[in-house]
Symmetry: C2
DNA sequence: CGGGTCATTGAGTCAGCTCAAGGCTCGTGG
DNA sequence: CCACGAGCCTTGAGCTGACTCAATGACCCG
């Protein structure tokens, strides 16, 4: 019933070369000796609790962070005091790249559940990047991935209705879990309904109604935050703009 | 009446150190000798006409491009055949960074009017970046800026109504014109109503109605694509979420 | 002058919002 | 052990801002 979550936030002594996420994370395409060089600059902190900040909007930019376990949301504050969740980040994904442009974080990063992150001091990463072309390329790629992700969200918000938005989010989490070796069909949503609504530009009531409807239609089975995708094909079709066939 | 546009697309022989955009573009924070090194790798093409592509979605990623004159839109195609405009780019701004993640452009870049771009082969830029820390930093910053821009658009689409979206777009173009030494109050919109609607997640009718209303309220004076901002303060207030004061 | 593209304006519809009520769960304290 | 309050979620009912559909106008180019 309960899907066991990774225990690695209790093992701060782990290093990149033995981390089971290293095929997703920053070290991709690095040689072992280069991974070890990267390892030396990475600082592994103690677990952070639900609601704790990894960094605050306005903080001086010093580091980027790899999520090692748990789940993190990034939140940007608009000038008029609203909060917009700009992303949910799962193990192996990198946060903090928003801080480079102005040397100050424009977002806050907040743990959705007990989590652990690897801190990567950016100054050291820059130096190492200049020496290791593969690392430089890899980091450019990660930033580019961030851009294309954001653009997909823009499209979702601009063109898609509530059903499509929710279906797309479920499919995204499913696919990312799958790439980490977990089930694509069964998982826990680490965020609240309110977080989902904020992220997708919907009210909490609409999120709740859509999820209830998907459950009634037997496309998913939903119990609180536990999701079981019964009909992946139907969910994928729902995520597409169902105009002309 | 007619605001003269830059003529530099007819002067391909110009180089970075003499380009009047060099305080906005890639060369910021480079020494003169380093600018000259950058200059050597940049290829300046002939003018491109309205509707022409700088690159197509699916093209192999080879270069990024600095807009030298005119205006460019970037368009991403969703799997189900829809088009989403993800940005409008004015002189001094960089396009093409979407291609890094997968080595293939995920967007198309299309000229909104007669334009010129500087092509910057990415392989050469990477090599040079490894040698020039300031250039590496500058390029990271540009990508980070792209991310924060996209996140602002996400917030706009997620939280703001039609009036706020239109007002924000007008203010953004105004500010970017101003930073290029042009008028903040008076400018031409390089894109169609349909492009505006696509970008902002609105129908063309709504765009037209909102612009007409702003004109009737004397906040702007609108004649086709020519915009005169009469009351910058009112426009700024409109762009803010006008909930609790 | 005709045909095409782009923009404006009006009228009616509807998806998602607001407002409101109530349920479930968990922790705290009597 | 149960009562109670605080969060979080669900569900219903009615409203509204933006959409759809439709007609018309303005401009450009051959």
């Amino acid at each position: 019933m309960v899907i066991p979550t990774s225990q690695c936030h209790s093992m701060p002594q782990i290093n990149c070369s033995s981390c089971r996420l290293n095929m997703l994370c920053l070290p991709i395409s690095l040689e072992l000796t280069d991974i070890n060089k990267l390892d030396e600059i990475i600082q592994r902190g103690r677990p952070i609790q639900r609601g704790d900040h990894v960094y605050h909007a306005g903080d001086k930019f010093r580091s980027v962070y790899a999520v090692r376990s748990g789940a993190i949301k990034t939140v940007s504050n608009t000038q008029d005091g609203q909060e917009q969740i700009t992303g949910f980040y799962l193990p192996g994904e990198i946060i903090g790249m928003d801080g480079l442009a102005t040397n100050t974080h424009s977002n806050s990063a907040i743990a959705l559940e007990t989590s652990a992150v690897c801190e990567i001091p950016f100054g050291r990463l820059e130096e190492l990047s200049a020496q290791l072309p593969n690392l430089q390329r890899r980091f450019f790629q990660l930033m580019s991935k961030e851009i294309t992700n954001d653009q997909q969200l823009i499209t979702l918000l601009s063109k898609n209705n509530a059903d499509q938005r929710i279906a797309s989010l479920l499919l995204s989490i499913s696919a990312r879990n799958h790439s980490r070796g977990l089930s694509a069909e069964e998982f826990y949503l680490p965020m609240s309904r309110s977080d989902i609504g904020n992220y997708l530009g919907l009210t909490i009531e609409t999120v709740s109604r859509v999820l209830s409807r998907l459950h009634k239609q037997k496309i998913i089975t939903l119990d609180k935050k536990h999701v079981l995708i019964n009909d992946m094909t139907a969910l994928r079709n729902l995520a597409l703009t169902s105009d002309k066939p």
